[in-house]
Symmetry: C3
Subunit: 331 residues, 3 copies
């Protein structure tokens, strides 16, 4: 099966047989062709969303999507909310800040409550690794992981893969350098698994204090010097330096971090001449990335990543609810 | 009129003649057959919501539902929001935390503002008893009380009654023990009125410091010892111990409260062998209720209560807007 | 072109030729007939919203409206949210309190993110003057200014003008006194421009410390004494005294402010006998306005202003998206 988009997948290649999962919890659960299937579906929505005033599609009409964000994330919540509404679902947000969790309710009890309200799909973000799977085990409907602790953020990995595929065509042999605070990053963990599964050569580039020991197990080669990590890269994916690390024990200072690990034009010149620049956002300009790199008209794919985020989430919401909607082949 | 669900109510029994209220402010405003009418309507929605992917019903399409929660309540807000959206209404939430109330606006002015925006139904939660009726007097559309101070929480009482009716069939002679912090509980006040009106024998079981003097006026018999209150009960309804009472003057400590008034398996054994266990949530496990009781597969109806919450709110939103929608018999 | 409402505007008077703007950022951008065109459109919605249960109109169905409020405003947000939902748009709110802005993202990056999610119209409120125009320059869709700093609040001016037109018929020669904290008020700035453009004689009435030097440039005559400013006025528009000014350097105390600049019945008697009383809300009763004036059954237009707010926002959302929707004449 080629990496490029197949507009007319033959019926035998679709349906539950190809995507046998009830939830989307971790990239680690997905086989390479399952990832490619989701990317193909997302490509359909990427094209449908582009340049059209009427982006609505009613296939989730009558279904209830609950976004339960126990950790704030404006971008990811907006992206899932827009995706669900474009598909016609009744979307409701449960904000952590005002939730029963604050009243001492257990996570399982909150899950049981959402389930009892007859949700048809639940999107969860949580500060603790594994919390989303715990909830998924207790409910009757599909659960999408919108980020759990340092663990996984599967839709981010899918949107990054889709962005790369659109720009580079194929993953085979592509050198992708994931640079920055790899240790605390679910984005990095999901991306290493996803891109390695798709055939890319993945590098994890980080200061020694921010490079976790499991990098190789996740399919990536570790680098502690930016110069070596960027050498000959096709894609440079910068990670956000979390504010809470900036004055901590992990890095000396934001300024020094920028000097050693920030993506400057000089440093980008070490990668291939047509290397793609990516960042999951929100960016700390002048810390992990220079403005001239972030805003590069041909090289930067940062706003395309945001657009692909909505497309990927529409695809995941659609695919995971097909069984409940009785779509042929998805019983 | 029997207590059981009548699937084909004759036309003469329906319409404005049976339910002559513009607002739903307090169970005290309702006659027994009016309560039964709302339960029958809710039973319809309970069945419609169950196990179907498409739960949408467009009867409130084009109407504007404003949820004005001056007091945070994730569960109740979610329940009303889902109910309104399933009926097709345009639902908007007004969060207290960011409201004009903080800018010194009076409650009446806020009410007049919501009214001027041409709301078709307003759902209000407020920390002060009576605040909801004050607003209802000033607006042109139906108002639903989603909890006001220690006073009333009528949809909670209706969902509890519906849960009991589904499990026990009838209210006549049923012994219901409402246990815990009765003093500060609008849930208890609404339930005492509702269940007494439906023919149950209601008991209010609480420590002397948490048992208000008006219990008997509300139709319940007061008990200060759990053992006596639970003896022979068909339904044991535990109340939430509010966090703000836990280290106050009302109880010595959460641990001691659990020892004296918590629902343990041993204590539940004093009730009838098939006694139902209920809790309005969110639960303080190990304080007012033991986990083994809360999770009992046959006895606990706690998640069914949540499901009935959505059904009851759909019924109330539907019934109260029939007049404005020009439904036959509801002019 | 007369000031009164034209129910059947001839086709030649409509379309992009009449309203050539992509955004609504400031009243200063609009010619008088463009303002009148928006008022005529809003009058249509004012009549459609009134006394009908079904207020829905599907013309924005499938479009995504993002309300990005970097500054809290319950009323204005509710009004824009209701307006968008009544037109059938998929409306999503981005709350500043939980936004990426807090994570150090620049305003331009936030704008690029909203744009990449393929928003069809963005409504922005921001505490800094000029911030909304900065965003409008970077995105592909129409932007509506819902208030930026002390600068502009164009939909407020339009709703005030519509309210006045409905009550007074015409603006020619009408004496409008805008009274209170003019210095910090975008409402005052927008209203001075709008009403002067429409032909009214506008007065800015404020204590010397709260009267900005640019008043005359905005088309108004300055007054520092209420008695003189109110003399013979047809419309008295009171401004809100912001809480943060009350104990500051600007006024001695709320009580003294009321004595010198509050709108009391005695002071209102200086205006014309049928003078209209207006306030953008939320009101500080007993500070800038007396309750007996605010609640005057014939003279006060304060709740009508709120109703006109929804109508004006529906008109602006409709008009600004016509080009994208391919409405004839709006290519």
């Amino acid at each position: 099966m080629p990496d490029i988009f197949i507009p007319d997948a033959t019926p035998e290649l679709t349906g539950r047989a190809l995507f046998p999962h009830r939830h989307l919890l971790s990239i680690a659960d997905l086989k390479p062709w399952e990832i490619r299937f989701l990317l193909d579906e997302a490509e359909h929505w990427a094209q449908a969303n582009k340049g059209q005033a009427r982006k609505h599609d009613g296939r989730l009409a009558g279904m209830t999507q609950i976004n339960a964000f126990f950790e704030n994330s404006t971008r990811t919540l907006l992206s899932f909310e827009i995706a669900g509404k474009r598909l016609g679902a009744d979307v409701v947000n449960m904000a952590a800040a005002t939730s029963s969790v604050k009243k001492g309710e257990t996570l399982i009890d909150t899950a049981m409550t959402l389930n009892a309200m007859a949700a048809d799909v639940i999107v969860i973000r949580h500060a603790s690794s594994g919390a989303v799977r715990l909830i998924a085990d207790k409910v009757d409907c599909p659960v999408l992981n919108a980020g759990d602790g340092w663990h996984q953020h599967p839709t981010q990995a899918l949107l990054d893969a889709l962005t790369i595929r659109r720009r580079k065509g194929s993953f085979a042999g592509l050198v992708v350098a994931i640079c920055g605070d790899v240790l605390h990053s679910r984005v990095a963990r999901s991306n290493m698994l996803c891109l390695a599964a798709l055939g890319a050569q993945v590098r994890a580039v980080a200061p020694p204090t921010l490079l976790p020991p499991e990098v190789e197990m996740l399919g990536a080669t570790p680098f502690t010097r930016m110069d070596e990590g960027l050498d000959g890269a096709d894609v440079v994916m910068m990670l956000r330096l979390q504010n809470e690390r900036m004055d901590g024990a992990f890095i000396p200072s934001p300024r020094e971090y920028h000097a050693l690990y920030g993506l400057t034009p000089e440093r980008l010149a070490l990668a291939k001449p047509d290397a793609l620049v990516m960042h999951p956002g929100p960016m700390n300009r002048g810390v992990e990335i220079s403005s001239s790199v972030a805003d590069h008209p041909e090289r930067s794919a940062i706003t395309e990543q945001v657009a692909m985020g909505v497309a990927v989430r529409m695809a995941c919401l659609d695919v995971l609810t097909r069984s409940a909607r009785g779509v042929e082949g998805w019983a």
